[in-house]
């Protein structure tokens, strides 16, 4: 029996290959992502392990806050602790470290180097003079020897920046800082460095100064991020830490071992990657899900075509069980082979992903791909299980074929559409129910996912019921426009509604996601646009080129305020903090002037008089928490740790989601955060001054601060739209895989169908159908199926979009927009893709030898 299975596979190579491709692509994507992740993880693990190799203990402040992106803001410590640590028995050497949060090199054209638009940081550090505590190494660059920075005004630059900016040792370079007193300065390059094996770790640019110089440019004299210590011979890390702990008595100081530090750094790097990995894996799973539809479809068609053969087997004494195992055996072999090929292809994909990362400015220095046994096991298991499960239903159908059917002429389609309607409707309703419960009853994202999944299945089950009427309607214009080939195309598209529906369902999934993303992006743009209109009452705004989140020196706001014609320049800063035990964001600006440029309405209390230990709270939160004016609320900030702030005012925030529910004054902000930088500067002009008349003067100021951009409200909207479009582009690129697999499915179905219709095509050719007309008929059949799947997908996608937007109404999705133009474009693309998918089957059908075709069994 199993030999028969294998023979069947060999005899139908094409069918086998097409089924396999669907599995291969999905598995390749999964294994490629896993290999890439493991490789990057190992790279970073090794990198941190090697650069902190000489660090046995690390002394730092215990006051720390993490923001939503996993970046931590930690209070600095005094450099007066260094002698204390050095004096500890067992410490061979100890030295202070300081990171300059922003030290952006400026190229010869005056533009900042590094890619703030991608969020890659531009760091500065002090040069550690103790070699074993120094993660950086000097390299010889263009024949010139590097030396460490020894005096103020000297800098060592990372090799990638030296290459990119065409700098050489001995050249002068301008560096821009987030420092109010020292927004930028000139330095002499005395050396070029690497970080472990990396020219530019994780895309960050690196400037290295003497410690005193680092403190000066950062505006933090006498302060350190931490102190690293190397142990003397015979003292292990734990002993060293304990001795330092005993010796250093300052408050809010913590001592950890070097290996703990390495682990922390490694897990930070992994967290940064995990978002990316999860993102890729989700698309890989979508691709596999789509692929499973194709497997179901192929097996179903093949079994329908083999009905007589299988019935003959049954007549000759094979049991239903044996027939079922034969089909499942075929699935197993296909799944296993395809998964194996997929894993191999995944290795290539991992290399490709590294290229993509590099294109985004993130250098992943990998020599060898890390292929864990787990990757093999997971990928193979996924591929085999998906194929096997997808073949279960067709196998059951095959086992039910009665021996008598060997004697019947043609397989007739069973019609259980009534039952199907009920089942499909129930699944779809349950899915929608789960979706809404998840969204509106806050029952969790898992329920939302389950609901979406069930809706897909429900619609796929219902597909055959609606395939005939919808397909007919879609092809209604064809007989008139394309004559007899058009009629045949339409009739062929709907002659087997199950087949049409399950082929279309594969496309539906990818397109539903595309439609969903289009609706979400359109709604997001409209919502944010509306918020900007409502929130921003000033004339101009300055923001970082990286969008909200990137920041610049507070010196810029002061200088803009001094430009003639500018009435006021209002900075806006953001920072992570904890309030009443929960992590959140606080914003800071000048309370007295906030009204002038931002649509912000103080409600109760004295907003304008907000002091350094006061906080203003939005009405919404104020009421929710039943706070009263004068209440002292416990908060935690990076600098100073736990402390009480007094609620002295409330404000109406409404739907201005660009802002936070908590507001403090600039003075309050500056003493609670280690680094002070503006995210926005809102500019209001004197009455009667036009934007155009002051723009050149303001632009001239901003020119001094690389990375900052001047925008009008409309410009701000377009910046945000550009960012949304970028994300949209990335998502589409990934969804392309799912859509591509679905198109393979259409091609597969068409190929199997035309083989099934060989005699029919032969007859048509005999009575005078031209090859061109045959191609036209196949092509239009494909277009109908593709457009049918696309319309199903778009309806679902818009529905998903609508439910999510409605659920997030309170979180800032004020507008629900269905971008008709873009959705129409999707349909047009689907039709073109249908033409593409039909190309090979159409060609094949038109090339059938007429005589062979009419005499086929």
């Amino acid at each position: 029996m199993f030999r028969l299975t294998l023979r069947g596979l060999v005899a139908h190579k094409l069918r086998f290959i097409l089924t396999a491709i669907a599995v291969v692509l999905g598995v390749a994507f999964v294994s490629g992502t896993l290999v890439f992740t493991d490789t990057v993880r190992k790279t970073f693990d090794q990198l941190y392990a090697s650069v902190y190799d000489g660090t046995d203990a690390w002394v730092r402040s215990s006051n720390v806050l993490k923001d939503d992106f996993g970046d931590e803001q930690r209070e600095r410590i005094s450099e007066s602790l260094v002698p204390q640590v050095t004096a500890v028995n067992g410490v061979a050497a100890a030295e202070g470290s300081l990171r300059v949060d922003r030290a952006q090199f400026v190229d010869r054209e005056g533009d900042g180097i590094g890619n703030p638009a991608q969020g890659a940081p531009t760091f500065g550090f002090n040069w550690n003079t103790v070699k074993q505590l120094n993660p950086f190494t000097l390299v010889t660059y263009e024949g010139e020897r590097s030396r460490p920075p020894r005096a103020p005004g000297e800098v060592v630059m990372d090799r990638a920046t030296a290459n990119e900016g065409k700098f050489g040792i001995g050249d002068m370079v301008t560096i821009s800082f987030n420092n109010r007193e020292l927004p930028k300065d000139e330095f002499r390059i005395v050396g070029v460095s690497r970080f472990g094996d990396s020219d530019r770790p994780a895309g960050a640019t690196i400037a290295l100064f003497t410690l005193a110089e680092a403190q000066r440019v950062n505006g933090t004299p006498g302060e350190l991020d931490g102190i690293s210590a190397a142990a003397a011979a015979g003292v292990d890390q734990r002993q060293l830490v304990e001795r330092i702990r005993a010796a250093v008595t300052a408050r809010n100081v913590q001592v950890i071992t070097g290996s703990t530090l390495v682990e922390e750094r490694q897990s930070e790097a992994q967290q940064g990657l995990s978002f990316f990995t999860t993102f890729l894996l989700v698309f890989a799973y979508v691709a596999l899900f789509v692929g499973s539809f194709i497997i179901v479809n192929t097996f179903s068609i093949v079994i329908a075509q083999r009905t007589r053969e299988l019935a003959l087997l049954r007549a000759l004494g094979a049991s239903g069980r044996q027939v079922r195992f034969s089909v499942l055996g075929e699935a197993l072999v296909v799944g296993l082979l395809a998964s194996a090929v997929g894993v191999g292809l995944g290795l290539g994909l991992a290399i490709g992903l590294r290229g993509v990362m590099k294109a985004f400015g993130i250098d992943v220095p990998t020599e060898n791909l890390v292929v864990k046994p787990a990757t093999f096991v997971i990928s193979l298991a996924l591929g085999v299980v998906v194929t096997f499960v997808a073949a279960l239903l067709p196998a059951r159908r095959a086992a039910r074929i009665a021996p008598i059917e060997a004697l019947r002429a043609a397989a007739t389609e069973s019609r259980h559409l009534g039952r199907r309607t009920v089942i499909g409707t129930v699944i779809a309703i349950l899915g929608a129910g789960a979706l809404f419960t998840g969204l509106f009853a806050d029952a969790g994202i898992e329920l939302v996912g389950l609901g979406v999944f069930a809706l897909f299945i429900g619609i796929a089950v219902l597909g055959p019921v609606i395939a005939r009427p919808v397909g007919r309607a879609l092809g209604a214009f064809l007989p008139r426009w394309r004559g007899m080939p058009g009629t045949l195309a339409r009739e062929n598209a709907v002659r087997n509604p199950r087949r049409t529906a399950s082929t279309a369902a594969a496309l539906m999934i990818g397109v539903a996601l595309v439609g969903f993303i289009i609706v979400m992006a359109g709604s997001l743009k409209a919502s944010i646009g509306g918020q900007i209109d409502r929130a921003f009452t000033g004339d101009l705004v300055v923001l970082g080129q990286g969008g909200p989140g990137s920041s610049f020196s507070p010196a810029m706001g002061d200088r803009i305020a001094a430009v003639p014609g500018v009435a006021r320049a209002q900075p806006l800063r953001f920072g992570p903090f904890e309030i009443a035990g929960k992590g959140n964001f606080v914003m800071a600006s000048r309370p007295a002037e906030i009204n002038a440029l931002i649509n912000f309405e103080p409600v109760s209390g004295d907003f304008a008089a907000l002091g350094p230990n006061d906080i203003a709270v939005s009405e919404k939160v104020f009421e929710e928490k039943r706070w009263k004016l004068g209440d002292e609320i416990s908060t935690t900030f990076p600098v100073g740790g736990k402390q009480k702030l007094t609620i002295t005012a409330t404000f109406e925030r409404g739907q201005r989601e660009l802002f936070s529910d908590y507001f403090i004054s600039l003075a309050a902000y500056d003493r609670r955060y280690p680094t002070v930088a503006d995210s926005f500067v809102y500019i209001g002009l004197d009455d009667g001054t036009s934007i155009e008349s002051v723009r050149p003067a303001i632009t001239k100021v901003i020119k001094q601060f690389p990375g900052a951009e001047l925008k009008t409200a409309a410009g701000l909207k377009s910046v945000i739209e550009t960012q949304i479009n970028q994300i949209l582009g990335l998502v589409f690129a990934l969804l392309f895989l799912a859509v591509f697999i679905a198109l393979l499915g259409i091609m597969n179905t068409l190929l199997l169908s035309i083989v099934e219709r060989t005699r029919e095509i032969g007859l048509l050719r005999a009575v005078g159908m031209s090859r061109k007309q045959v191609r036209t008929a196949v092509r239009w059949e494909s277009i109908i199926v593709a457009v049918f799947g696309t319309l199903l997908g778009l309806v679902l996608g818009v529905f998903f979009g609508w439910s999510i937007v409605t659920a997030l109404r309170d979180q800032g999705f004020t507008d629900f927009v269905v971008p008709g133009g873009q959705l129409t474009l999707v349909v047009v693309f689907a039709a073109l893709a249908g033409v593409l998918a039909a190309a090979y089957p159409a060609r094949r059908a038109s090339r059938f030898d007429v005589l062979d075709a009419i005499s086929t069994d």
Binding site: G483, T487, R495, E760, M769, S770, L851
Partner: protein, 251 residues
């Protein structure tokens, strides 16, 4: 019934094979299905081609109909040398000048009877002459079946629809490949009677391959093939004479 084409017309040749050979394979495995055959098929005549299995009768029909190519010699439909025609020209000749009736699977399952009848004309982008269509449909008694799909028709009805399709575009000649091979004797007689009438009353030309002597007896002329050559022919055949002649082959 209006039958404008029924009057006697001058005797012309509808199809002709000249020294035609068809060879499959090479060397040892060479099979000569047609061996230098020359034969004419007159217009307005009903000709039957007979012969034992492997005699080449189907190959001859296929080559004459432009479904297959001869390896040597020439084949003419009217004055056109179809052995020199390309695939495109052959398609047009089949569509516009030839009608087909096959043994089985004559109809497109997704089209109803009426659409199947007009299929070749629809492929050409032409409309059938309504009066002609009506008269064919009436003669074949399929008027009440026109909106039915093939799966809803009996075998005999399906073959009548196929005959109607072969006739509707008034082709130069109709090729029928065992048209009654799958039918019972009553349905067979109906079809053969109608084909006879198509020649007598409608002035059509039919070339039919059959191995059934009684089917051959409806023809004006029977051509006997054996081993790829024409071994005999018979005018005004009867079933008994054909049967006697056939017995001489097998021995």
């Amino acid at each position: 019934m209006s039958m404008p084409a029924a009057v006697a017309r001058p005797e012309t040749v509808a199809a002709r094979a000249v020294n035609a050979s068809k060879v499959y394979g090479e060397g040892e495995a060479e099979v000569r299905a047609l061996d230098h055959i020359s034969v004419d098929f007159a217009s307005h005549q009903f000709t039957a081609i007979m012969g034992p299995s492997g005699s080449g009768k189907s190959t001859l029909l296929h080559c004459l109909a432009g479904l297959d190519r001869v390896t040597e010699g020439q084949v003419f439909i009217g004055d056109v040398d179809i052995s020199a025609s390309n695939e495109k020209q052959l398609t047009l000749i089949r569509r516009d000048r030839i009608g087909f009736v096959f043994q089985s699977f004559n109809l497109i399952p997704t089209l109803n009877a009426s659409e199947n009848i007009t299929l070749p004309m629809a492929l050409a982008g032409r409309k059938p002459d309504p009066a002609w269509m009506d008269s064919i449909v009436a003669t074949l008694r399929i008027g009440d079946r026109l909106t039915h799909r093939p799966s809803e028709l009996s075998g005999g009805q399906q073959q009548r629809v196929a005959v109607a399709r072969a006739l509707v575009s008034r082709p130069d000649l109709i090729f029928a490949d065992e048209p009654t091979g799958n039918l019972d004797s009553r349905a067979s007689a109906e079809i053969l009677n109608f084909m006879r009438a198509a020649v007598d009353d409608l002035g059509q030309t039919i070339v039919m391959v059959t191995h059934d002597p009684s089917a051959a007896s409806y023809a004006d002329r029977v051509v006997f093939l054996a081993d790829g050559t024409i071994v005999d022919e018979m005018l005004e055949p009867t079933a008994d004479r054909v049967l006697d002649r056939l017995k001489q082959f097998g021995g």
